[in-house]
Symmetry: C2
Subunit: 218 residues, 2 copies
DNA sequence: TAGATTGTTAATCGATTAACAATC
DNA sequence: TAGATTGTTAATCGATTAACAATC
């Protein structure tokens, strides 16, 4: 265990490990080696061992990692052993989708409040939650000890919403709007913009390795 | 212009550049330097110049980059000057959200068919599209020259859907299901799993730099 | 014990950044 | 011309991988 500063690359991989481990658990596999975990993920086994070793000695030489134990450790590292309260701003289709995801996932992120600025939506229900007006945001954040805000409003409104979240004392933002948000350093902003994923996917369509063509761009 | 092989890191940044450039264009800014683009994105200017220079000499010394011209070039690189046909599998809330996004975005990705395996959904409409049964997938891919498939089904069904897409001759998959998909090398799979983003966000909540605590994990 | 696999150090690889000649 | 900014080379930094002693 070192607890130097952990690189973003490592942190990004932890949820991936967790995902596979959960699948292994569901299949009642008790133990896994970095070798095998690596082959499932197409990751280098040494990388996996190194990533995990940043946080502790979770494995056993000659044996590997115990699935249940490792799940628990990673959940602990990611803070999802404790429940984290989340607010969602933007009660559109995407907002609905996220609320549903929420129901089924077994991590302890919980959307506890939904907001929208569009008058007719206020007071409507999403599952058990009632859509609230934006002017209740700051108060609700305090009341429910909300630490993360998810932004699912159109791009033009996103910065404004972000500002309100920040003013309300939020610690992290997951932004689905296709725009760059400005935020103070102490507020972590994560961009979950699938249009970017889709566009970079497009790049690879005609660029399958050797068939690259000097003149293609120009 | 070199056209060696371009690293994933570079390709990931192109859509980000495009996004900012589009915003600049909307504000009728004609020209931008790597310096200023960098300050908006908190990217290093040299990195931006280098990224762009992989694809051509798009800038002008002493001046910077012409916004319109650069947009056009990046769109070209990403292949979104041409329309790319997309199929969406899974007509839930997330599927609906993506179909709507589609309407508003100005890139030429177009969802031209929607599929679902759940009987009652088949024949219902999402905007102008009619939800089709899975057994029409392969045929429709060919008919409409569909190159990308978006998977928005539950995790347990995702691999099965992916297999059908692959069998149908798809070139790229954008997977929203929180599971690892197996696919042959020539099919590019991009994971757009926001649960992972959310989880890594959680990590940073209590780990704000110096307040890190040796004993916290153990 | 012999075989397997970890945790970790050292070597490699690749990506980012600094610096600067070229030039608009 | 003088000032600005590119494209690109060289230097730096960081992340990945190989290798192996420790040990279950």
């Amino acid at each position: 265990m070192k607890q130097a500063k952990i690189s973003d690359a490592v942190v990004k991989r932890l949820p991936i490990y967790l995902q596979v481990l959960n699948e292994l658990k569901a299949r009642e596999i008790k133990t896994i080696s970095s070798q095998e975990l690596g082959s499932r993920l197409e990751f280098n086994p040494a990388q996996i061992r190194k990533d995990l070793a940043y946080f502790g000695d979770f494995g056993r030489k000659g044996i590997g990692y115990e699935v249940d134990y490792l799940i628990d450790k990673i959940r602990h590292i990611l803070k999802i052993n404790q429940t984290i309260h989340v607010a969602l701003i933007g009660a559109g289709n995407l907002g609905h989708a996220l609320c549903n995801y929420n129901k089924y996932s077994n991590d302890n992120m919980q959307i506890v409040a939904v907001f929208d600025s569009y008058e007719p939506k206020i007071g409507t229900k999403i599952n058990t939650l009632t859509v609230q007006p934006m002017n209740e945001l700051a108060e609700t954040i305090k009341q429910h000890n909300i630490r993360i805000g998810i932004i699912t409003v159109p791009a033009q409104e996103a910065q404004n919403v972000a500002n309100q979240l920040i003013a309300g004392g939020i610690e992290g933002i997951l932004n689905f709007a296709p725009t760059i948000l400005r935020a103070p350093e102490e507020v972590r902003v994560q961009h979950a913009d699938f249009t970017k994923e889709l566009l970079s996917l497009a790049y690879y369509l005609n660029n399958k390795e050797e068939e690259q063509d000097e003149s293609s761009v120009d």
